[in-house]
């Protein structure tokens, strides 16, 4: 069954797009990531113009994140105070990000920078997580589980001033690390066109030492706002949000997210971290191969309408 997309100006298979939305929504609900870093390449692979693909994934991310975050909220898994601090940093970061992005585009190297940033962030974050979670899984399989939180309780993060109590996360830490983290995510989300969940989630687990169950809900809450901001930005500046494409992705995404939340709950937290690490590394390897492998066609063509 095919349907014509008014902004992308091409037809797509309805079931394919709904299925893609559902798959990405599932990952979103389970891991607390937006899923833009998977969705965008897939849409472009099917011939959706890059500008439309990047812009249209944002409403889908908003929808599946809302779907997931409501369910997490009901279970008390959202730390609103932490999310507020992260968002404050994020707002400042996105302003820096816009300037950085414009500078890169003027140099014609934004593609390279985006790919390199993905490979570096996905690779290092995924690698560290994989190493840690494999360790944790093996440890808990072998003997009695040792508590992770006592192992590194006195991290440098805990010595900073401006301490704030985050009840939901059971933390009493300085507001500076979450602010800086938010700032970094803000810069990355503008420059790389992603919500930043895949960096936010591991950072909250390992740097801020929040409980994994709260991390996913809190990350999703933050992703809702980043996605909303990005939707408006793209709609106003490029007019490249395709409502029909977004509708199909949303239909699949909100349902997928519900299954993702439930599946994620049944998964033990060390296994969840292991799965997320594997996912990040898979994408990292794919992008890395793209960078290093000699391209079949060295030429790339981008066409923009003259107004």
């Amino acid at each position: 069954m095919e349907i014509y997309l008014p902004i992308a100006e091409m037809p797509v298979n309805v079931l394919l797009i709904v299925g893609l939305g559902a798959a990405v929504g599932f990952l979103s609900g389970m891991f607390g990531v937006g899923g833009g870093f998977i969705l965008t390449p897939f849409l472009m692979f099917w011939g959706i113009p890059p500008a439309v693909a990047v812009a249209t994934q944002s409403p889908q991310i908003v929808a599946s994140s809302v779907s997931g975050v409501v369910t997490h909220w009901r279970k008390g898994n959202v730390d609103f105070k932490m999310a507020g601090v992260l968002l404050t940093g994020g707002l400042a970061g996105s302003v820096i990000g816009i300037h950085l992005f414009n500078a890169l585009r003027a140099a014609g190297q934004e593609d390279l920078f985006i790919s390199l940033a993905y490979v570096i962030f996905l690779g290092s974050v995924g690698g560290l997580m994989l190493w840690e979670s494999v360790h944790a899984v093996r440890q808990s399989a072998g003997s009695a589980p040792s508590s992770r939180r006592t192992a590194g309780a006195h991290h440098w993060v805990h010595g900073l001033p401006l301490k704030v109590r985050f009840h939901r996360s059971k933390l009493y830490i300085s507001a500076i690390p979450p602010l800086l983290l938010g700032l970094l995510i803000g810069v990355l989300s503008v420059v790389m066109g992603v919500g930043g969940g895949f960096i936010l989630v591991p950072a909250m687990i390992y740097l801020l030492r929040m409980p994994t169950s709260v991390v996913v809900g809190t990350s999703l809450f933050q992703v809702v706002f980043i996605g909303a901001f990005s939707t408006l930005l793209h709609a106003v500046t490029n007019q490249s949000v395709d409502a029909i494409l977004a509708g199909l992705l949303i239909a699949g995404g909100v349902v997928g997210a519900q299954f993702g939340v439930r599946f994620g709950e049944r998964l033990r937290s060390d296994w969840m971290r292991l799965c997320l690490a594997a996912l990040l590394l898979m994408i990292c390897v794919r992008l890395g191969i793209n960078l290093v492998w000699p391209p079949g066609n060295p030429f790339s063509v981008s066409v923009e309408a003259l107004l």
């Binding site: 014509y4 029909i244 509708g247 997210a257 063509v301 066409v303």
Partner: protein, 256 residues
Amino acid sequence: MTCWFLATLIALLALVPGARSEELAAGISRDKIEINSRFTGTQVAIFGSVEPAIGEVVQGDRSRDIVVVVRSDMLSRAVVRRKEPLGPVWVNREMLAFESVPEFYFVASSRPLAEVAEPSVLQQFQLGVAQVDTGPGFGAGRKAVEFREAFLASRQAQQLYSQHEGAVTFLSPTLFRTTLALPPNVPAGNLKVSVYAFKDGRITSSSAMTLFIDKTGIERALSEFSVREPLLYGLSALLVAVAAGLVAAAVFRDRS
């Protein structure tokens, strides 16, 4: 005075039939294509007749060579980049911009274009994908040629540019037709259809028509909304997204 003028006019008119040249008449099966939600491309027949000059004897199975060109009015800017290895990674190094390229181009001819006319004529009337005018702003060096070829190849791969030699068929020595296949990704806008009749490598007559391609129904409403009220459009998209998320969370609440 008036009488003398009329007499001259009548005398002139009497001379006309002897000197009357060929007549080319062409038409299209549809002059308006509506893109709705079920649009997956379509076909349009382009047909016509070319009557030779009076007194001329038609040799062979056709009176003229026919070339049909369909071009979109809308022009775009295309940027072509080339990747080159820089250490271990492949990086976009050189780029070339083509300032005004047509969004759609189709050419069909009754014989291979090289046999229809000289390269200079083909170039002048942009007959053939290789002759498409990509606007000013690139030189004649090897780099420019390579980049232009890469651009044309990419457009052909997307079915937006195509060349069909021998696709104009003659039903009789004077009646011809061809089929314009519009791909699903054809841009909305006007297409200019030009029909040229050739004899001995020269254009003897031509005819032009316009084919309107327009979005209808919800496709049109949405694309107009997105341009006229971008902020409202973005907010509506958000509203739908948030509502869909809330509904899904509410529906699935009972099952958990």
